[in-house]
């Protein structure tokens, strides 16, 4: 049903190991925090296995403490609205029936989406799925270990684990920015929008708002520059 290219998948698995390590650390905090709020062990682990989404899971965890279920669920859903944008972006690169493509798109997570991005602007779906696999395993495992051991946030901060995710994203961004000047300009604009929105709203909404910077792609390119598209599609 889903044609997986083994080479792409294996490359994805290798690439996914780094963010999997970072995800494990984040999942530890999620499991520990859920345990502290009386969620027990089963629910956080099952939630991680099925939802596989740090931003939505943390949002639900915090929003439920201070508000109604409906508001908490709506916040968690909105915070993940960027997946809708990514899913639309991915659609042209997916193969098979509508249902099959909808299933393949379940492998979408931030780091895998970036790893799967090819120079011609399309996405390598085998690599996407391969990169998400170790991240999913680490995410579920980290949640279980966090729920069972409940490490203190202070200790995790002291040993510098809050560096893991932004450092990974920075290194990945440096690779992306080498691709084109337009990507560089769009990234600067996106960072600016996200930073401005951070002053007035939560990180999830700031992130979603920042993706609007990709709309500069609507402006036709006057000078195709290094003839990127023709070169790479030939």
């Amino acid at each position: 049903m889903i044609a997986i290219d083994r080479t792409g998948f294996a490359a994805g698995v290798r690439l996914g190991l780094g963010p999997a390590g970072a995800g494990f650390v984040l999942a530890l905090s999620f499991g520990a925090e859920a345990e502290a709020r009386g969620w027990g062990l089963g629910l956080p682990v099952l939630f991680s296995a099925l939802a596989f989404s740090g931003s939505a899971q943390f949002t639900l965890l915090t929003a439920l403490s201070g508000g109604t279920v409906a508001a908490a669920v709506a916040s968690a859903a909105l915070i993940n609205a960027r997946y809708l944008v990514m899913s639309v972006a991915l659609n042209d690169s997916l193969r098979g029936s509508r249902l099959s493509r909808a299933l393949q798109a379940q492998a979408l997570v931030d780091a895998s989406f970036v790893f799967a991005h090819r120079d011609d602007g399309r996405y390598d779906v085998s690599r996407l799925i391969g990169a998400s696999l170790p991240q999913w395993v680490a995410w579920v495992l980290g949640t279980a270990v966090g729920s069972l051991t409940a490490p203190s946030p202070e200790l995790m901060h002291r040993i510098g684990l809050d560096v893991v995710f932004p450092a990974f994203f920075l290194v990945l961004a440096l690779d992306e920015l080498r691709r084109s000047r337009r990507a560089f300009a769009a990234s600067l604009l996106g960072a600016g929008i996200a930073a401005a929105l951070l002053l007035v709203t939560d990180p999830g909404y700031a992130l979603l708002g920042g993706t609007a910077a990709a709309l500069i792609g609507l402006i036709p390119e006057r000078d195709p520059g290094p003839a990127k598209i023709t070169e790479e599609t030939s």
Binding site: G18, L43, F47, L50, A51, S53, A56, V69, A72, V73, A77, N80, A81, R82, Y83, L84, V85, M86, S87, V88, A89, N91, R101, A102, L103, A105, L108, F113, V114, I159, G160, V163, V164, F165, P166, A167, F168, F169, L170, V171, A173, E176, R179, A183, A186, S187, L189, G190, A191, I193, L198, P203, A206, L207, G210, T211, A213, L215, L218, P220
Partner: protein
């Protein structure tokens, strides 16, 4: 029960978001302008993630130093994992020194 239902609702919404492209667009192909936009989403998303990760709560210069070190090492062609590990070590070291 309230917790389980909330988690289930978020899970289902998450599945639908990820399936949103194939479910809404189907077999249709995007026009060239939309393809250009789509190609820019990954770098823009990354830039946003860096900003929200670093500025989400409150700016912490020891964290910035570690992240910056990882970035510089990456520019100097140090592989991803050692670059990130060095960043973590620098931040942990700074926090240890500063008590």
């Amino acid at each position: 029960m309230r917790l389980w239902l909330a988690a289930l609702a978020v899970t289902v919404v998450n599945w639908l978001m990820k399936a949103g492209g194939p479910l809404s667009i189907g077999e249709r192909r995007l026009p060239p302008a939309a393809i250009r936009v789509v190609g820019l989403i990954a770098p823009v998303l990354l830039a946003g993630l860096i900003v929200t990760e670093l500025g989400g709560k409150r700016l912490d210069w020891t964290q910035l130093a570690g992240v910056g070190a990882a970035g510089i090492l990456s520019v100097l062609r140090v592989p991803l994992l050692p670059a990130v590990a060095a960043g973590i070590a620098l931040t942990a070291g700074l926090r240890l020194l500063l008590g």
